[in-house]
């Protein structure tokens, strides 16, 4: 074991691979070529259609020990990964690793196949029960949690070699061109799948909406697709949209949003050319509404909105408040509908969005981003992966990517959830290093990182309740009490990778 710069014990080897301990957000330099794959030559001009998923698995030559991937743009409506693993199991394949862009609650159906040894490793973060069972030691399956940018990096450098990518293709032709704009499973941007399409050794487009050649606009081209499979359904379209895409009405949430808007107002970033990202939670959307009103009021013409795109951003684009939207995934149907229609609504790959190892990702151009937290500590480190019970329940998303990229990252969170303090001495798991976090906003006050003294002074001038983060912690502890430290076993069940590939924290088995 070695200590990383944030004081977390990191194993030198995990799941058979040597690991690099995290040191800081900026200095780790890549030392690699882009990953390569065999060049193919397909002479025929007919169909790449195969009869079933099973045929496709056989045709790609998937073998024991290999790695597969899917994309998560269908979110909780995705049935492809579940169906795929069932077929892989039925074919008797074992020791398969999954390197999907994310795993959702709906994929709890994989649990029996993990127990059985069909699936033996997760090269991606998870949401929900799988993570909980791994944390409890009830599922033996090493897991490496990656951010969106970090995953793109790992595929592009070949650190995670994907043998076969099975990509849900909402609108696809028989020669393999596809997009996400149309069809019963329309999900809009295919930003995550684009990385797999370029870097997986074999690519299978799986569609429930086969259209006559050519499927236009071409999102992912025929030149990178080996096979096409038609299935009756890719999943449940109703669950493709994210669950919370409405402004909160909770007074506490609204107060947090208002403080966050005060922070943006005082930051000096709100001027022509403003660029912004926010999530889909009720508080984040309420901040977006404040931003929209500020831009309208001061007649500000923004540069771009980014990240997961919602109807709110679409409205702002159409109103002329932003020049462009950079969309790596669409969060609601309004966004899906817009991406097929608005020229300024630009689909981007996860690599373009957030990969730290290229000539500059879109996140680097962000002025301001609103992010969330399950826990925050007095060093501004943020946890979004585990909850205060120690269970790994959430994937990182773009959290640490945007925090590192944006000029100002604003974490919004209630100070107390249930009976638990959210600002505390130490977070259970570090997802995003405090060095990249600008401001913490709770309903009880705002803590500003010492890196932004001018912002702090401006907030104080505007009577916004600025507090030292330790003062904020003490105020919250006075209400909740100090939580007893969680008890963990020595066994490390997972790693949390920082976006550059170094290991920022580990997930330990929670003591029974």
């Amino acid at each position: 074991m070695v200590l990383n710069s944030l004081g977390r014990q990191i194993p030198e080897i995990f799941a058979g691979k040597k690991q690099i301990p995290y040191s800081d957000p900026w200095s780790l330099q890549p030392n690699a070529e882009r990953s390569t794959r065999a060049i193919r030559r397909i002479n025929h001009n007919g169909s790449k259609l195969l009869g079933s998923l099973r045929e496709a698995i056989i045709a790609t030559g998937l073998k024991d020990g290999m790695t597969i991937s899917t994309h998560h743009s269908l979110r909780n409506g995705d049935h492809l990964l579940n169906d795929l693993v069932k077929e892989i199991d039925a074919l008797g394949l074992r020791d398969i690793k999954i390197a999907s862009s994310s795993i959702h609650i709906v994929h709890a159906e994989l649990i029996p196949y993990i127990r059985k040894g069909t699936i033996t490793g997760l090269e991606c973060g998870v949401n929900g029960l799988i993570g909980e069972l791994i944390s409890k030691g009830e599922l033996d399956c090493p897991i490496i949690v990656r951010s969106h940018g970090g995953r793109a990096r790992a595929l592009i450098t070949g650190e995670v070699p994907v043998d076969v990518a099975f990509l849900a293709a909402p609108c696809c032709d028989e020669y393999g061109n596809f997009n996400g704009y149309y069809g019963p499973s329309a999900c809009g941007s295919l930003g995550y799948a684009m990385v797999d399409a370029q870097h997986a050794h074999k690519v299978v487009a799986v569609t429930d909406n086969l259209v006559p050649y050519p499927a236009i606009p071409v999102g992912i081209p025929q030149t990178v697709v080996d096979f096409v499979v038609q299935v009756p359904t890719l999943g449940d379209p109703k669950k493709i949209v994210s669950s919370t895409t409405r402004v909160t009405t909770d007074p506490i949430g609204l107060q947090i949003a208002k403080y966050a808007a005060n922070v943006i107002e005082c930051s000096g970033l709100m001027k022509n050319g403003f660029s912004f990202q926010t999530g889909t939670g009720g508080i984040s959307l309420s901040v977006a509404e404040h931003v929209r009103n500020m831009m309208r009021k001061d007649k500000i013409k923004g540069s771009f909105g980014c990240g997961g795109i919602t109807g709110y951003f679409v409205e702002m684009l159409e109103e002329g408040l932003f020049e462009a939207l950079f969309d790596v995934q669409c969060f609601d149907l309004k966004a899906v509908e817009s991406i097929g229609r608005n020229r300024g609504h630009q689909e981007i790959t996860a690599g373009t969005y957030a990969n730290p190892f290229n000539c500059g990702a879109v996140v680097n151009r962000l002025d301001c981003v609103i992010i969330s937290a399950t826990e925050i500590d007095v060093d501004f480190n943020v946890n979004v992966n585990t909850e205060s019970n120690g269970y790994l329940l959430h994937n990182t998303g773009g959290h640490c990517d945007v925090a590192a990229g944006a000029k100002l990252s604003i974490v919004v969170a209630p100070s107390i959830r249930g009976r638990l303090p959210i600002v505390r001495d130490a977070v259970t798991t570090i997802t995003t290093p405090g060095e990249t976090v600008g401001v913490i906003v709770t309903e009880r006050g705002i803590a500003v990182n010492d890196k932004f003294p001018d912002l702090k002074a401006e907030l104080i001038k505007h009577r916004v309740p600025v507090k030292d983060i330790r003062e904020l912690r003490d105020e919250i502890y006075a209400i909740t009490g100090v939580p007893k430290p969680l008890q963990f076993e020595d066994k490390i069940v997972g790693l949390v990778e920082y976006r550059d590939g170094s290991i920022i924290d580990v997930i330990r088995q929670v003591a029974a």
């Binding site: 007074p251 107060q255 208002k258 009880r444 001038k461 009577r463 916004v464």
Partner: protein, 309 residues
């Protein structure tokens, strides 16, 4: 909490049900100028006892007060009112919101009760303030007399819901039916030198209509409004926020009056206009509001206005 209650900002007074711990707990967090913790209409008959205890405990633990705290007790002619006072006064609210203050006698009775409690608790006499609710035809007619009963009054609060019920009419969003009553309460308050606080606006989803009503009552002369939901705070504060030109002018007025003091004169002219007490008073109010909005950096103190003795 304020050094001089005459200048206390009361733009927003938020009703908080006394029987809901989760909402009481959030009182320190809301950015309204004051709260009215309700033991009356918001609390079902079966929970009157529990609410009293809860409110008392809350106030005892809320030591770092950051806004004015009023408690709305049950009407004095009910069996709960005396128990309400007994329970909450030792926990030191700033004052009592008195419902159904239809006659001067009702307010006098509360005045006497508060004096007795102050003596019993060893507090400065007059410490507990009163905000009577003018919420019936009778109350509107008696408003002028009510406004002069006791120096404890911080203002008169108009209650349109009960008023329209007493008039057997419907309340509308445009509010023409309230106009005379609103004006009568306002005149009574202003003539007594106390604040006039407007009624609640009950549709929490109609921010545009809330804004229109607030703009109206501000133009008339009301200095604040009661609220049923914290989501309404921002709209009301926004309406009451002074315009930059008003702030600039007020700063010039205060500056001029300071110079007048230095020169030993009581009046002075600014850009050819006489600056006297009413102008200074208005300027001071604008600046206090501006301070609360973060538009100016200093509070205007008494000496700035009246000069040190």
């Amino acid at each position: 909490m304020a050094e001089n209650p005459a200048y206390q900002l009361r733009r927003t007074l938020l009703y908080v049900p006394g029987n809901m711990p989760s909402m009481l707990q959030n009182i320190p967090l809301f950015q309204c100028d004051g709260v009215i913790i309700d033991l009356e209409d918001a609390v079902p008959l079966s929970e009157k006892d529990a609410a009293r205890i809860l409110v008392r405990r809350f106030l005892e633990n809320y030591t770092e007060r950051n806004k004015e705290i009023l408690v709305r007790i049950n009407p004095l002619d009910t069996k709960w009112a005396l128990d309400d006072l007994k329970a909450v006064l030792p926990a030191l609210p700033d004052g009592i919101r008195l419902p159904k203050a239809d006659t001067p006698e009702i307010v006098e009775r509360l005045d006497t009760l508060l004096t007795e409690y102050e003596e019993e608790l060893g507090l400065e006499l007059g410490r507990f303030r009163i905000l009577p609710s003018i919420e019936s035809a009778q109350g509107v007619i008696n408003a002028t007399e009510i406004s002069r009963v006791t120096p404890r009054l911080i203002g008169l609060a108009f209650g349109a819901e009960d008023y329209t019920a007493s008039m057997e009419i419907e309340r509308t969003k445009s509010g023409e039916e309230l106009f005379n009553a609103r004006m009568n309460v306002l005149w009574a308050a202003k003539s007594a030198g106390i604040q006039a606080i407007d009624t609640i606006f009950s549709d929490v989803n109609d921010m545009d209509a809330l804004r229109r009503e607030t703009e109206l009552i501000k133009r008339l002369g009301y200095t604040g409004k009661c609220m049923v939901n914290p989501r309404q705070i921002d709209v009301i504060h926004d309406v009451f926020a002074p315009k930059q030109a008003e702030v600039d002018y007020a700063l010039q007025v205060i500056d001029a009056i300071k110079r007048a003091r230095e020169m030993g004169t009581g009046v002075i002219s600014l850009k050819g206009k006489m600056i006297d007490a009413p102008v200074v008073k208005r300027a001071a109010r604008v600046l206090r509001t501006a301070y609360a909005h973060g538009l100016v950096d200093v509070i205007i103190h008494e000496e700035d206005i009246h000069g040190a003795e």
